[in-house]
Amino acid sequence: MRLITADKISLSADRLSRAYQLLTEAPLSAKFGIIVIAVYIFVALFAPWVAPFGESEIVGRKFQPWDDQFFLGTDHLGRDMLTRIVFGARNTVGIALLTTILAFVLGGVLGILAAVVGGWVDQLLSRIVDVFMAIPALIFAMLLLSIFGTSIVNLIVIMSVIDATRIFRIARAVSMNVVVMDYIEAARVRGEKLPWIIVQEILPNISAPLAAEFGLRFCFVFLTISALSFLGLGIQPPIADWGSMVRQTAVLITFDDYTPLIPAAAIALLTVAVNFVIDWFLHKTSGLKDEH
């Protein structure tokens, strides 16, 4: 018993040191990306302790300039901008992350199912997805939001359904390559059930491309939700959110004030960071080199 735990500890220590080695070998852009993502996660988790004021607390006059008390000034209602940005990390990123996860569960399961079952199930799902994907995501989201009304629950459900169509395509394509393998045939012949085949045989073999795809889809969802919020159709006040903050403070830009750029930069920085990390990850897992 003791032997096993000792073994486990040395195994996990080994993993840690390997992970550490991998990180030190990472290119500068990937390191930068990892650090930025870590900072965002920290701020999002500990928002109430990091922020100087409460999320929708009115603490000053409208549009106060940057000073010692209000580090980034105040917004159109007199709320502290820095506080709103810190809470935005929790709300904007959290909502985008939740949406992406939902989209992955929905699109992933259907995609793998279409590949494994095949036949009319595959045909039906694929044709529906084709039509959905023919409509640009932003337009489709706006159409559905105007039908069902703008609320956070609607936003999350609508965006995850729209995004699930894109994930369906990828999941179906990568599992198609796995389904034809002999070990799947073997599992079928020895009478394994469908869920077992999916979880034990297919998922482990498609996890690497799906992980990279998760990062890309997150960026896409994050940008689309931010754009919708900026247009006033996404995350609604009084929740602190970067997209709508840009819109609310936009008038300041004509007075040569940088405030509206800060929440926008927060969005841009995170997506760039995630993209850098994915770029490195893809390079690592595909084993491709650009030297030919």
Partner: protein
Amino acid sequence: MLLQRILLGLLTLFAITLIIFLGVSMLPGDAAEAILGQAATPETVAALRKQLGLDLPAHTRYLTWLGNILQGDFGVSIGNGREINEVLGTRLYNTIFLAAFAACIAVPLAVILGILAALYRNSFYDRSVNIVTLSSISTPEFFVAYILLLLVSVKAGWLPSLSNVRVDTTFAEHLEKTLLPALVLTLVSMAHMMRMTRAALINLLSNAYIEMATLKGLKRFRVIIHHALPNAWAPIVNVIVLNLAYLIVGVIVVEVVFVYPGLGQYLVDAVQRRDMPVVQACCLIFAATYVLLNLIADVLSILTNPRLLHPK
């Protein structure tokens, strides 16, 4: 192959009209209640329903709706009771003007810069282009828009910060007022075109006939322009058309930033007021343009590739 693709495109268009129509008719309540609002009594609602043809079954209404749209009649806005057509024409013209203007700047620039990146592959220029394009792909349009607005219009004062064009605006004035939004669209759409141009060329450079051309002592510039580029046109043209489709959608956010009276702004306002006939009309136009441009991209790539044109 070609006929098949065109038929598929038309089928997709048909499916989209179905989605847009069915989606809206799923709404609780209908246009009659929305128009009457507080003043609605069961009798007036029933009367107005009859007048608007809402008492007919769904498939009849769909066919009438589709028929009207094919004749260019988009119905009446719930918000102000005016014909949507009155507004739609100028709005659509403005949006197409902006998108076309942006395309005129973005397409040549992206192709040239992409060729240069392929030409000087792995150089400092190529690497910095790679980082800049990767960053600009992942940046929200409004971020780029506000940065340019701050630098060009507020700090330098070269261009107006609002693009308030009217019907009587002259062409030159229109160009001046839309230059800034067009530049924003150029910046956000160029990256993808450039990357694809570079990738298409580099892909070709690994071919044997390019190696042959290099080995017989041709200059690198000549190899790329005369030997690689002609074969790369098909994928590049494909990417350009796909990006025009992207421009049509990306235009929405930019129009809102610059308060430009285009179709995107019209759609955003309509979604906020839940003015469904206007939402239907705008979504249909945007989606149809997108589908048609995608169709054109595919048709062009079939036409420029003999292997696809004459399948075995």
